[in-house]
Amino acid sequence: MWQQLRSELHPHNLEIVTVALDTGGVPAALPWIDAANPDHPSLIDEAHLVDELFGIVYVPSGVWIDEAGTIVRSPETAYPIRPSYLDREVPEGASTETADRIMEVNKLRVDADRYVSALHDWVAKGADSRFALAPEEVLRRSRPRLMEEATAIAHFELGQHLFRLGRSDDAVLHFKEALRLQPDNWTYKRQAWNLLDPGQRSVDVYGSDWMSDVKRIGAENYYPQLDM
């Protein structure tokens, strides 16, 4: 998905690094990476370290880092193009569940054109770009790291570790606690649901699922509005 933009901007000294946040590791991410056939580094984060280090709670999220290694935009919604599934129409004869899902997805707020335009501006102008934020603003936009959130991170890490050991019942206890402590962390929720049901449909053990939780907040609020 990012390869075309990378081809355009790499000659202007931008590198794109994609990171798959996937407890499933290479087997989970490989089909997607193979299909994208990227020239850029395409990494796999099976421990969800990036979530913790950068405060990422949904995907796709993008972070801009300048030549000196300074973050100039903290995590925010990052799409290189408007994904076609946002404009999908409900097919005739679709089940109620499918129709419901398509209509909710259609409400997601994605502004790929604005994001890519801002990225071009930064690549061209560097620190003079109005989209390159001062360090104080980068920190202000970063998520507060309260004890609830930090404890959720610890429970999620422990859950992943136990899951890999084959102790999925014990793992679920920690995933549930992580989800309770940080209910707006969609990467944790979706990863935890996915490990039990790849479709992220109703998972009794969590008492929640993607559709129910998205409807609760309103799909239009799933991605925060770009602050650019």
Partner: protein, 112 residues
Amino acid sequence: MIVETLQVDPVELERRTGWAIKPQGACKGERCVPLPGQPKDQVDIRMLAARLGMPLIQDAASGLWCLGPETGGRALATAQAPELILPDMYGNEFSLSSLRGSKVLLVAWASW
């Protein structure tokens, strides 16, 4: 950081959390927190957790502990990008800091 005991190796602690054990205490960037009475070759993570506001939880069934990140600030404690070393699909490790001198767009995505 998953651990089996409450005494941990400082090298492993730094690799996983970024907190280095120095004569003045536990340090990350310019911030140092004293850890009085600690031997150089081991760190008591109960003390570290208390000093830095880190959660320390235990899985009762396995006895494993997990030390979470420090609290009281922001997820990004500084605008300096944290070091990130991750493998690609072939298992080759890639370091984010190897791209110093280039602008970088780091994109987090997932298959799920």
